[in-house]
Every structure is written in structure tokens, then in C-alpha cells.
């Protein structure tokens, strides 16, 4: 067991190393990535650009630069940005994290509650109009590009109907810290939450329904029903419980990916300065230190949730253990 965990840890480290090296190489393969001239400023003299290049160590071999950067990122933790000179990247990521967390957490609550409601209701009213209607709605949720949905909601809530009672409560775009006023925090995030959750309610609702329907065919459920338990009791007590296992593993992975920054489109559309947007900006600016920090952060969550899900599988599914 200890060996398995150690092995898993080694694998995680390898993946993180792989990603950082990949990012590093991609960066240096990009034409125009040399930050010296950008740091030096507009119309800088050649001497100045050269001096900056030396100062920042851009003239050293790549492995050395890589090692120095990793040391600054993880050991001394004082890595500074190439674009916003003097800006330390680690605190930036730490500052963006709660914003993303607020967004993803709220959306997660919405999509878990929403998808369970959709899934259970659809499964219980199987093959009726309600079931079909719900499944079509869920599919529409899956089919809408999140940025487009976000833009539309912005159009409606910020412009077209902002003056009507429906949306006059919607504050301007951008994040408001929780501790500055929980109510305002809530109001700013409601629409982003819905936008982000729409897709997942669709996916999870459909998967849950399918699993419920399948579980319903299993012998022990049939037994329970034969024993005369009420359908809703069977559904909630037995079927739902079983069906939630794949649901939980899916949730773990998606949550990890989103917290790591995959919610970037929602963040961009709603002007939330979260990890995703930070990463996106850093990439557009070719700000290598910031890219490394954010990508490492994102990958960390993915790798960890992956590992957790794998472990969960081993615990719950004996078939995998066999392999």
C-alpha cells in the first residue's frame, strides 16, 4: 500500500515535471517570445536591450534558465513576472484562487442539486413527456457554448433589461470579495454560476438518469420493489445511492479541473480575475513566469483529483483491483 502511494506520488511529480518542461519549451519555440525588448521598452537602444537580456539571464543555456526559474517558483517563491516587472507571481495565483473557488464552488452546488433533481425526476417519469422535455433541456444545456451563453446573459442583464425590475439588482461585472459584503458577492456571482453550471447540469443529469434506469434493472432493486417498497423510496434509498458512485468520481475530476483554471471562458466573459483568466492573460502576454505558476497550479489540481479518483475506483470497484 505504501509502495503504491509512493509510486503514485512519483508519477505525479513526473507529470508535473513534464508539463513544466513542455511549457518552457513551447515558450522558447515561440517567435517574439524573447522578453528582453519588451522589458526594455519602446525604442530602446540596442545596448539597453542587451544589458536587460544579461540582467535577466536570458543569455544562459535553457536548462540553467529552467532550473533557476523552478528554484524561484518552488523554493524561494519570489519569481517575478516578465510583463509587470517586480510583480511576484506566487501571491498573484494565491489571490486569484479564491475568485475561481467562489465561482466553481457555487456552480458546483448548483449543478449537483440541479442535476440530481433533473436525473431523478426524469428517471422516475421515464418515457413520459416530462422525461423527454428534461432530457432535451439537458441536451440544450450541453450544446450551448459557455462563452456565448455568458455573453447573452450579459446582454440581457447588463444592458437590455438592466433597467427593469428583473435585472436591476445585477451589479456591474467583476468580482467582489466575500468579506466586503456576502450579499454583493452573491449577487455578482449568481449569473456566472448559472452560466457555468448549465453545461454540467446537462451532462450530469443525463448520466445520472441513465445510471438510475440501469440500476433499476438490477436484481436487488427488483427485490426491493417486489418487497413492496414505494417507488420513490426505492429510488432514493437504493438506486440513487448506487448511481451516485460514478457521479462522484466525475464530479471530483471536473471540480479539480475547474478549480485549476478550466473555467477561463466564464471568467473572461464575466470579468472575474480568477486563475483561468490569469493563465489566459499570461499566455497572451507570453509572461513565462506567470504561465509556469498558473499551469503548475492547474496541473496540480488535475493530477491530485486524478489520483484521488483512481484510488476511489480501487476502493469501490473490485474489477479494477484484479488488473
Amino acid at each position: 500500500m505504501v509502495f503504491a502511494i509512493l509510486q503514485r506520488l512519483a508519477q505525479m511529480l513526473f507529470v508535473l515535471f513534464g508539463i513544466s518542461a513542455l511549457v518552457f519549451l513551447i515558450f522558447f519555440a515561440t517567435p517574439g517570445s524573447d522578453p528582453a525588448a519588451r522589458i526594455a521598452g519602446r525604442n530602446a537602444a540596442q545596448e539597453t536591450v542587451e544589458a536587460i537580456r544579461k540582467d535577466f539571464g536570458f543569455d544562459r543555456p535553457l536548462p540553467v534558465q529552467y532550473a533557476i526559474m523552478m528554484e524561484k517558483l518552488f523554493v524561494s517563491r519570489d519569481l517575478t513576472s516578465f510583463v509587470n516587472r517586480g510583480l511576484e507571481v506566487v501571491p498573484q495565483v494565491m489571490r486569484a484562487a479564491p475568485i475561481t473557488l467562489s465561482l466553481v464552488f457555487g456552480a458546483a452546488v448548483l449543478w449537483v442539486v440541479g442535476s440530481i433533481a433533473v436525473g431523478v425526476l426524469a428517471a422516475m417519469t421515464r418515457d413520459t413527456i416530462i422525461d423527454k422535455g428534461l432530457m432535451i433541456l439537458a441536451l440544450i444545456g450541453v450544446s450551448m457554448p459557455v462563452f456565448w451563453l455568458g455573453e447573452l446573459l450579459n446582454l440581457v442583464s447588463q444592458s437590455r433589461f438592466h433597467d427593469t425590475f428583473l435585472f436591476s439588482w445585477v451589479p456591474g461585472l467583476g468580482y467582489k470579495p466575500f468579506f466586503d459584503g456576502p450579499w454583493l458577492w452573491f449577487k455578482t456571482l449568481v449569473i456566472p454560476w448559472f452560466t457555468l453550471a448549465a453545461l454540467y447540469i446537462g451532462i450530469y443529469g443525463r448520466v445520472l438518469r441513465a445510471n438510475l434506469v440501469e440500476t433499476y434493472q438490477e436484481d436487488y432493486i427488483r427485490t426491493a420493489r417486489a418487497k413492496g417498497l414505494s417507488p420513490s423510496r426505492v429510488m432514493i434509498r437504493h438506486a440513487l445511492r448506487m448511481s451516485l458512485i460514478p457521479f462522484v468520481t466525475m464530479f471530483g475530476m471536473d471540480f479539480g479541473v475547474l478549480v485549476g483554471g478550466a473555467a477561463l471562458l466564464t471568467e473572461v466573459v464575466f470579468g472575474l480575475n480568477g486563475v483561468g483568466r490569469l493563465t489566459y492573460q499570461a499566455m497572451l502576454n507570453l509572461d513565462l513566469p506567470m504561465i509556469l505558476a498558473t499551469v503548475m497550479y492547474a496541473s496540480f489540481f488535475v493530477v491530485v483529483t486524478n489520483a484521488l479518483v483512481d484510488i476511489l475506483y480501487v476502493v469501490i470497484d473490485p474489477r479494477v483491483r484484479g488488473n
Binding site: Q11, V15, G18, I19, L22, V23, I26, A29, T30, P31, L139, I140, V142, S143, M144, P145, V146, F147, W148, E151, L152, L155, S159, L196, L199, Y200, I203, R206, V207, A210, V213, E214, P246, T249, M250, M253, D254, V257, L258, G260, G261, A262, A263, L264, L265, T266, V268, Y280, M283, L284, L286, I291, V295, A298, S299, V302, V303, N306, R319, N323
Partner: protein, 347 residues
């Protein structure tokens, strides 16, 4: 879409070890086809898709004969006649301080049916041309993705050992890299670089770039379940039996493993296409997908983003096109999966 969930959804419901038929034969395909033909939802979705594809293919006819416009040429001055009224394509504001110019809105006539974008180009015509690119990219990327994933997954699963070890680690690295971030970093490099594959120059404007990028980023999501499937097949009774009989490995691979993998892949095709259309639009929306003068639904949404307040139709129309297409593909995907793999029947 800020998600990496869609492909994983398929790995959850799509095949795992328990569902493997004992031995592939012709009949499942025929049976699947029979089921599909009777599936009203599938037929409806198929018809919608055919109509969309036909409309997009007819783009030149629409642009040349009906709208009489060149959707790739900026027409910032000039005017058209609608119902005997002359209307400027770009109308400069005349009230107040006279700030800003607004493109013509939907006319609901052949000319500028859905209005113009900020270059004075016919949005309806661009929508059809854009659809061509969106569909082309999605289809080609799906093929690339499935072929790559099948190859990697099968090799890793079938040969095992260090081959599996190396491939799995590479996949893991790619997997841990959030899809959009991977796509963005690839695009940024490729957009500013020009390279040659044999005699083909792949430069900034090429459609091959988004195809390759989108094709690559989802490989791990398909390759992992494929590998899992091959792995379990390898340990299945009939393969073990075949091995025991001394049948060569490549024969087992070709005759027993590949057909099985193909079943899995076919189930993925419509859903992957749906996902790729959304991905393409997201990349183009972030202006790292299709490059001007070419259009795609994503680039039109991006154009429309700047006109959301005055001419929301520019962003609305391509969005609706995406939703319709993706919806139809998803419905079709469900039906195909139900038909091919009855165990996971959803309806």
C-alpha cells in the same frame, strides 16, 4: 465551453470490461442500423444536420445569386436599396456629438438578411461560409483525434510493458494540461510560426492549424478508454484462447482487437464532433482559431461581441447555428450509442 467533462462522460457510460461482446460479427452492425432507422429522434437530428450541411455547401449560391455580396470584402462605404429606400451599410451617428458608426441591422430581405458586421459584410452569407469551416474543422479534427487515439490506445494496451508505460505517461501529461490552456499555448506558437510538412506550407492563415490543435487536445480523453478496453480484451477469454492456439499477435490485433475498438470509436464520432464544434468556436472566440479573412461560427461571434449592444444579431445567429448543430449531433450520438451498445441504452 470551460469543460473537459464531455469526453469523460463518454468514458463513464461507454464500454468497459463487462460489456464486451464475446466476438464481433456482422450482425451487431446490421442490428444497429435497423434500430437507428426506427429511431425518430435520430432521423430528426440527421435531417437537421443534412439541412445545415446543405445550406453551408450552398454558401456561394446564396452569396452570389441571392444576397449578391462578397462576404469577405469590407464594404464600409456604400448603400443598398431596400423597399425603395436607400440605406447606408455603415451609418455614422448624426445625433448628439455624432460619435460612432453602426452597421445596418437585419433587413429580412435577401440582401443583408441578418444585417452587417463592423466591416459592412453580410452576416447571413458569412454565417454559411463560416459553417463550412466550422463543420470542416470539427470533422477533420474528429478523424485525427480518433485515429491518433486509437493508435496510441491500442498500442499501449496491446503491447503493455514499457511501451504502455511511456505512452501512458505522455497521455497523463497531456491530460493534466487543461484542454483550453493546451490549445491556447499551441495556437500562440503555431500562429506566429510558419512550418512545412513536405510540400505543404502551414502558415498563420491555414485551417490546418485549428484542425491539428483541436485534434490533438482531446486525444488523451479517447486514448485512455481505448487502452482500457484493449487491456481488458487482452485478458479476455477468446484472446487468451487465440494465443493458446498459437495465432500470431498481429492477427489477433487485426481480427479481434481492432473491430472491437472500432465499435467504441464509432460511438464517439457524433459526440466528438459536437465537442469539436464548440471547441473551435471557443478558440476562434479567443481569436486563436480561424484567422481572417476566413470565417467560422466562432469568429462571427467574436465580431458580434463588439456589436452586442447595437446589433446583437451578429452574435446571436452563429450561436444559434452552433446550438442547433451540436444539439443534433448529441441526439444522434445518443441514438448511435444506444444502437451500437445496447447495454447503455438511455431511452
Amino acid at each position: 465551453m470551460s469543460d473537459a467533462a464531455a469526453p469523460r462522460q463518454m468514458t463513464e457510460t461507454g464500454g468497459d470490461a463487462a460489456a464486451i461482446p464475446a466476438r464481433p460479427s456482422q450482425s451487431p452492425w446490421r442490428r444497429a442500423w435497423r434500430i437507428l432507422r426506427r429511431d425518430k429522434a435520430a432521423i430528426g437530428a440527421f435531417v437537421v444536420l443534412v439541412l445545415i450541411v446543405a445550406a453551408c455547401l450552398a454558401a456561394p449560391i446564396y452569396a452570389n445569386d441571392l444576397a449578391r455580396t462578397d462576404p469577405f470584402r469590407s464594404t464600409l462605404s456604400g448603400s443598398i436599396v431596400i423597399d425603395g429606400q436607400t440605406r447606408k451599410i455603415m451609418e455614422a451617428s448624426t445625433t448628439g456629438l455624432g460619435l460612432g458608426t453602426t452597421p445596418i441591422g437585419p433587413t429580412w430581405h435577401w440582401q443583408y438578411m441578418l444585417g452587417a458586421d463592423n466591416q459592412g459584410r453580410d452576416v447571413a452569407a458569412r454565417l454559411l461560409y463560416g459553417g463550412r469551416n466550422s463543420l470542416l474543422i470539427a470533422t477533420a479534427a474528429t478523424l485525427i483525434c480518433l485515429v491518433l487515439a486509437a493508435a496510441i490506445g491500442t498500442i499501449a494496451g496491446f503491447f503493455g510493458g514499457w511501451v504502455d508505460m511511456v505512452l501512458s505517461r505522455i497521455l497523463e501529461v497531456l491530460w493534466a494540461f487543461p484542454v483550453y490552456l493546451l490549445a491556447i499555448s499551441l495556437s500562440i506558437v503555431l500562429l506566429t510560426t510558419e512550418f512545412w510538412i513536405g510540400p505543404f506550407r502551414i502558415g498563420s492563415g491555414s485551417l490546418i492549424l485549428p484542425i491539428v490543435i483541436i485534434g490533438i487536445i482531446y486525444v488523451p480523453y479517447i486514448a485512455r478508454p481505448v487502452r482500457g478496453r484493449v487491456l481488458s480484451l487482452r485478458h479476455s477469454e477468446f484472446v487468451l484462447a487465440a494465443k493458446g492456439l498459437g495465432i500470431p499477435r498481429w492477427r489477433i490485433l487485426l481480427k479481434d482487437i481492432l473491430p472491437n475498438v472500432t465499435t467504441t470509436l464509432i460511438v464517439y464520432i457524433p459526440i466528438m464532433m459536437a465537442l469539436n464544434i464548440v471547441t473551435e468556436s471557443a478558440l476562434s472566440f479567443l481569436s486563436i482559431g480561424v484567422q481572417p479573412p476566413d470565417a467560422s461560427w466562432g469568429t462571427i461571434i467574436q465580431d458580434g461581441q463588439g456589436l452586442l449592444y447595437t446589433r446583437p444579431m451578429v452574435a446571436l445567429a452563429p450561436g444559434i447555428a452552433i446550438v442547433l448543430t451540436v444539439l443534433a449531433l448529441n441526439v444522434l450520438g445518443d441514438s448511435v450509442r444506444d444502437a451500437v451498445d445496447p447495454r447503455t441504452k438511455l431511452r
